[in-house]
Amino acid sequence: MADPAIRGGRSGLGLVVENSTDYEARAITKSFAEVIVLREASVHFRPGEIHALVGENGAGKSTLLKVMAGVYSLDSGSLVLGGATLPPLSPREAQRRGIYLVPQEPRLMRDLSVAENLYLGALPTGRLGSVAWRSMNDTTGGLISSVGLRVHPRTLAGELSLAQQQLLECARALSHGCGIIFFDEPTSPLTAHDADKLFSLMDQMRGRGLTLGFISHRLDEVEAISDRITVLRDAAVVAREERGTATREKLVAAMIGRQLTVSRRTGHTSAPGAVMLDADEVFAPPAVRGMSVQVRAGEIVGLAGLVGSGRTEFAETLFGLRAPSSGTVRVGGRDITGRGPRRCIDSGLIYLAEDRGRTGIFADVDIVRNATSAIVGRLPRRARTFIRPRQEEELARAGAQRMDVRASSLGAPIKTLSGGNQQKVMLARWVLAEPRVAIFDEPTRGVDVGARESIFMTIESLTANGLAALVISSELEVLVRLCDRVYAVYEGRIVGEVAGADITLEALGQLVVGAS
């Protein structure tokens, strides 16, 4: 059952181009339970090209790649590989034909070694049917180093960083002899440095004639590396651009269907008020090594830093999800150090977490209960005990409307909403808690351009009404756009602070990598 490519010991970029051909999707239509997610979408991937898919969330990019990789079935249309129409695909079948999708979150077996992960489902056997460890490890070593992954083949996959796991997925694609490799939003969780490594790998692969496709929300990297760009909007392909003819304005216009002027940071008209959040010398080893931050009412303060610099851990420490080893945290003067989320919320501090899927939404629960989950204790009751359902619905509906949530019914499970709308429900949840201080952790992650603006405006209007906002983002443009002051975080420490007009991409870019 082992793949011929692996059995033969071929590996990595020495692969002959035989497996890499044209791959075309023709008029693909796909719906999930009466919701149309792809409407006659066509896209053509060619060998020796990097082809980017861009578009708002819910536009259908991820679905399209998944259909082409056999993860989803298509309702109508066809997939054409090297001129031949394909029968219905499964992921395994697609791999056999040379098509591999590197998922957004690499899923590896944490307790198995790198080599075993690479050869998952296709372990090479030697004498008497036992696993051929030595040859497997040797081949693995060669393969992973050719993609730039410098670890021992026997390292447990759980010990790899996210960037390393992605490289391992690339290695898997190559080891299966796949010549058509798709990446589903690979760079969202990566630092700029790791993203560069990935892009140079993709460049190498392009040079070898592989057919590459990737999804990204970051238009600058899309513009930098792609040969072709296909724009999707509302389940359909609306524009096709090539390197040279694509401009930012054209892309954005196609993505959201209207012209969007790139807005610059709006200055603050009123002076900020009293200090609402005062974190003093907070230590929470190993990630947080002494951070002090102050945020005033009406201010938007940013925390800039690379992924892994400790910002999220810092936020979690402030919110009481992690116990600090020393330091104090005050909200509106009240000491809430290490008190736990409930106390924080009741004192006026809320935290919009980064990982919406795991720590934010209750996927199968309806929108109403998702929206009110932070204030269940404050809901209107009968006899002081029993929650009044109608009043709860009213509250949720008001909150959702304020955040411009697009949903057909509030009784539907939140997982039926797009990423942007889910984030808006999360915002509604926290706004209902009437906070005085809000920490927004990567608020625009996985959110499309249109919803981004909406979220920016929400944050600005909240702070105009007195909220003290702390925004954590790895996208420096977001911080430049929003903040009055920005702290730079590097390896668990604050290494700099810039304010006002000094907040520029260059300045922040320098600080976050530890340069002074």
Partner: protein, 346 residues
């Protein structure tokens, strides 16, 4: 076409050696810790009761632990796949009863008895395998159900009688000592452990169990027949439990309608102590062996300390809690270590 030039192992040799040494250390640690704890218990017990150290006593302990060892071995297979089997004790009991009656009333000899036990185990294990892998019930529910049915069957089959006569030719296997402290039955059971270890470590099937336990969906996408693998783990658990029933007869020379009812937990406890996690993906065959011996040693030490038998289940329960607590501490420590290491690499 690959050329030698394209493959470059960039890793410097020193780091290579250091990491592989670390790997071996990590693997061995849990078993070593358990053995160390066992030595402590033995030392303390012997200090108070010198007889504890006698080879006859050790023989009994080892023979006794073989029953649990086989159950724990089967349980390990199941737990590695992220499942659980709450019915292994009852399978053992039924096997002991049926085979026992054959020996007692129909003069069955050893080899056919062993075969019969194995067959009974497989048949009963088939029930679990079908419920979990084919009908797709959650393992807790499925094996709880079979636990009920099989314990009920124990009553039906015994019909008020019990097994109490096993010929000396068989029970001697439990008391005969090949070497001081090593009963004959140990010599016959050890190969099973070795085979299990080999299967788990060096066969594609064994490695698939780890993969399925770690991430069943990814395993499925990689082409591993997840349901087939799970099916086999429950069959194996049943088979080993059936064999355990025969060993039980040899060691205790009897069986009744309540045989095995407490051993479900002991099997899980032994597997846990030996390092197999309930969440799958970690652990192994030797862990089951070490865990069972540790369990038996501890329980024997308890009875030497004059604790009445009625407290033995409580003892096992307490050990389970301690084992899991200890496991968590160890994992937290290794996670902390890992995160430190990761910061370094950047």
């Amino acid at each position: 076409m690959t050329t030698a030039r394209d493959i470059q192992t960039v890793l410097p040799p020193e780091e290579d050696r250091r990491q592989s040494r670390a790997m071996i250390e990590l693997l061995r640690r849990r078993e070593v810790q358990v053995v160390a704890a066992m030595i402590v218990i033995v030392a303390v017990s012997t200090a108070f009761h010198p007889y504890f150290w006698a080879s006859a006593n050790f023989g009994y302990i080892l023979a006794d632990s073989m029953v649990i060892a086989l159950l724990a071995l089967g349980e390990t297979f199941v737990m590695l796949g992220r499942g659980i089997d709450l019915s292994v004790g009852s399978v053992m009991g039924l096997s002991a009863i049926i085979v026992g009656f054959q020996i007692q009333n129909h003069n069955m000899t050893l080899l056919p008895a062993v075969l019969l036990g194995a067959v009974i185990g497989v048949v009963l294990g088939l029930g679990n395998a079908l419920l979990v892998a084919v009908v797709r019930l959650p393992p807790i529910i499925a094996t709880l159900g079979t636990l009920g049915v099989y314990s009920g069957l124990e009553f039906v089959v015994t019909n008020g009688n019990q097994v109490d006569t096993i010929p000396n030719s068989m029970t001697n296997l439990g008391s005969n000592q090949v070497l001081p402290g090593i009963p004959e039955i140990f010599v016959y059971t050890l190969p099973l452990v070795l085979i299990a270890a080999l299967v788990l470590r060096h066969t594609v099937f064994g490695r698939s169990i780890y993969a399925v336990g770690d991430d069943a969906e990814a395993a499925y996408k990689a082409g591993i027949g997840v349901q087939r693998v799970l099916f086999m783990t429950y069959l194996i658990a049943g088979l080993l439990a059936g064999l355990a029933g025969v060993v039980f007869l040899i060691y205790t020379s009897g069986a009744s309608s309540t045989t095995g009812v407490n051993d479900n937990l002991s099997a899980i406890a032994a597997a846990l102590i030996g390092g197999t996690a309930l969440t799958g993906g970690r652990g192994g065959a030797f862990g089951a062996l070490v865990g069972s011996v540790f369990l038996t040693v501890t329980l024997t030490a308890m009875s030497f300390a004059h604790m009445p038998d009625v407290w033995q289940p409580a003892g096992v329960g307490a050990l389970v809690l301690l084992a899991v607590l200890f496991d968590r501490r160890a994992r937290d420590a290794s996670v902390a270590r890992r995160s430190k290491r990761r910061r370094w690499r950047r």
